[in-house]
């Protein structure tokens, strides 16, 4: 059972692309903490200074569109952001986030209601998002069963190890 996540919301618009999540010039960095220092820099250079560890990115539709760079979710995770809530995610970002263990939640209802700075608490297992500032509760879309089984297994790596053993 994953522990609940708690922090404040930082709100952004739609189509937050990977070029602003982690600008191309930083894509030769591998170190997670170093990448984390530049999270969201192309859109909001103040993000990493104003956020506290545990905070959330809350964004409109198509979050993470553009390139396949896995350093985009890695940078967000490296910044200490605990999860991203969006109306929808771009395909490759969605896979990458789950693969590296960055929690993501799809909830148009939550995105519409949450305001910048609201204090949130999320129970990842049930996808329950509580807005402590507004005293509201929202529900995130459940992951498809296959994705949930990957998450439950601890990500793609244990899945690959199991497949390797099966093939051996």
């Amino acid at each position: 059972m994953q522990a609940s996540l708690r922090g404040r919301a930082h709100k952004y618009g739609k189509n937050v692309d990977t070029d602003v999540i982690i600008p191309g010039k930083y894509c030769n960095i591998i170190d997670i903490a170093e990448l984390g220092k530049h999270a969201m820099e192309g859109l909001d250079p103040e993000y990493t200074t104003k956020m506290n560890s545990g905070d959330f990115i809350v964004a409109d539709s198509n979050f993470g569109c553009g390139s396949s760079r896995e350093v985009a979710p890695i940078a967000i995770k490296g910044s200490g952001t605990s999860a991203v809530i969006a109306k929808s995610f771009a395909r490759i970002f969605y896979r990458n986030a789950l693969n590296i263990g960055l929690p993501i939640f799809e909830s148009p209802e939550a995105v519409d209601a949450i305001e910048n700075g609201d204090e949130l608490e999320i129970e990842p297992a049930g996808g329950v998002i509580r807005n402590l500032t507004k005293n509201q509760t929202y529900t995130a879309a459940a992951f498809p069963p296959f994705m949930q089984s990957l998450i439950d297994a601890g990500g793609l790596q244990p899945y690959v190890e199991r497949r390797l053993a099966e093939k051996a």
């Binding site: 189509n15 191309g24 896979r95 990458n96």
Partner: protein, 427 residues
């Protein structure tokens, strides 16, 4: 069960008679691609997977140094070396270093590594380019690529397909890039998310292989998982010149189910421009040139438009002329082979003579890496595929996307220019 082209390829690679949209499958891959950025992370992931000492097949992995090479700085050199050392350790057959490769998506087809009916995954979002050859090809992140390196298979959700049917003959100075910009503008940047785009119609049947590459390349700009053309005689001739390996040409069933069908007539289409800051902010050139839009840089190249056909168009427009004195023009032939062909045809000399800087092949300028990075307040018109905020450097710069002809015409005047007008003036 009737199937689309994408479904046919996925079913065969999953060892199934049929698949349907939404189904999760395990599919065997014919080729796994990575560049030094995606490989650096993927190799780290692979090292952590227990029991994964070797790649599944050293002949079915392509590693291309192309994003930050020739190394921009010590950190870039470090990741380039990381991939090179891995290629040596794993005895990877298809490893391309600087001077022997170029941009991954230009190199792989040239080397005969892409054929109809194949399934290709790559650690780069523009892996969808290979749909031009009737292959299923999609971009993924590094962890998925690491899994494919060791398993030789990937899990995929079968996408719904969108059928795009093009009709009409392109007018003067209208190219595949204009048709695809119009398409992205029509669909929107999330209009095909989680979907396969299947290109149909007389217009695309007439397109050259390069034209189809340009269009398949930008399927991701509408959010698509893949963009695919049916292989025809042109495709088969191109591929057979480059490889002896057997391949299976698949065809969509006539009664296949599509999520949507969209007809696009390009008979009256003008050259198109994607204005800042999204690739779907597309407008006809006559609308864009109503205002005088001065530019600081023109960029010609990339996996979208870095091919010999593209350079021929640019050279024809710039031959014997000089670029506007207040701007700079940067040209990156897409690969070493394109570079050599352009040299042989005298194109490089013509471009240099007009005042263009001709660089070595690579991705650097397109993604704001190096060799053409924009500063605050600068504006660029570019043959590349993305124009998000900060894409080519400063978040305070602006990028317009257009065809090689529109970019070349703009290079002569220093402002965004209709190539049809430029052609009339210089005729």
């Amino acid at each position: 069960m009737p199937m689309t082209l994408t479904e046919k390829i996925l079913a065969r690679h999953a060892g199934l008679d049929a698949v349907e949209p939404g189904q999760i499958i395990n599919a065997k891959v014919d080729l796994v691609l990575a560049n030094e950025l995606s490989a650096a992370v993927a190799i780290g992931v692979m090292r952590q997977i227990k029991g994964a000492d070797r790649v599944f097949d050293r002949d079915k992995i392509a590693l291309v140094e192309d994003h930050f090479v020739p190394a921009k700085d010590a950190q870039s050199a470090k990741i380039a070396k990381l991939m090179k050392d891995f290629a040596v350790e794993q005895k990877i057959t298809h490893f391309f270093d600087v001077g022997r490769g170029g941009i991954e998506h230009v190199v792989l087809p040239e080397e005969g590594l892409v054929a109809p009916g194949e399934l290709i995954v790559g650690g780069d979002s523009h892996t969808c380019t290979y749909g031009a050859f009737g292959a299923f090809a999609t971009g993924m992140g590094s962890t998925d690529i690491a899994a494919a390196f060791v398993l030789g298979e990937v899990w995929l959700k079968v996408p719904w397909s969108i059928k795009l049917v093009y009709s009409g003959k392109p007018g003067q100075m209208v190219f595949a890039k204009d048709i695809m910009l119009k398409t992205v503008g029509t669909l929107g940047i999330d209009g095909a998310t989680y979907r396969a785009i299947e290109y149909h119609g007389s217009t695309v049947d007439e397109l050259s292989i390069t034209g189809r590459i340009t269009m398949a390349n930008m399927a991701i700009e509408a959010g698509a998982k893949n963009g695919i053309f049916h292989a025809d005689e042109k495709t088969i001739a191109y591929v057979k010149e480059r490889t002896d390996r057997d391949f299976i040409v698949e065809k969509a069933d006539p009664d296949a189910r599509y999520e949507r069908e969209i007809e696009i007539n390009i008979g009256s289409l003008e050259p198109q421009v994607a204005c800042p800051h999204t690739p779907d902010n597309v407008h006809p050139i006559s609308e864009v040139t109503r205002d005088e839009i001065l530019v600081d840089q023109v960029f010609i190249g990339s996996c979208t438009n870095g091919y010999i056909e593209d350079l021929r168009i640019v050279a024809e427009i710039l031959d014997g002329k000089k670029i506007d004195p207040r701007l700079r023009v940067i040209v990156n032939p897409g690969s070493q082979k394109v570079w050599m062909q352009a040299a042989e045809e005298g194109i490089l000399g013509k471009l240099a003579g007009a005042g263009c800087a001709v660089n070595t092949p690579g991705c650097g300028a397109c993604f704001g890496g190096h060799m053409g990075t924009l500063g605050d307040g600068e504006r660029c018109i570019s043959t590349t595929n993305r124009n998000y905020v900060g894409r080519m450097g400063s978040p305070k710069a602006e990028v317009y996307l257009a065809s090689p002809a529109t970019c070349a015409a703009s290079a002569l005047t220093g402002r965004i220019t209709d190539p049809r007008v430029a052609a009339a003036v210089t005729a």
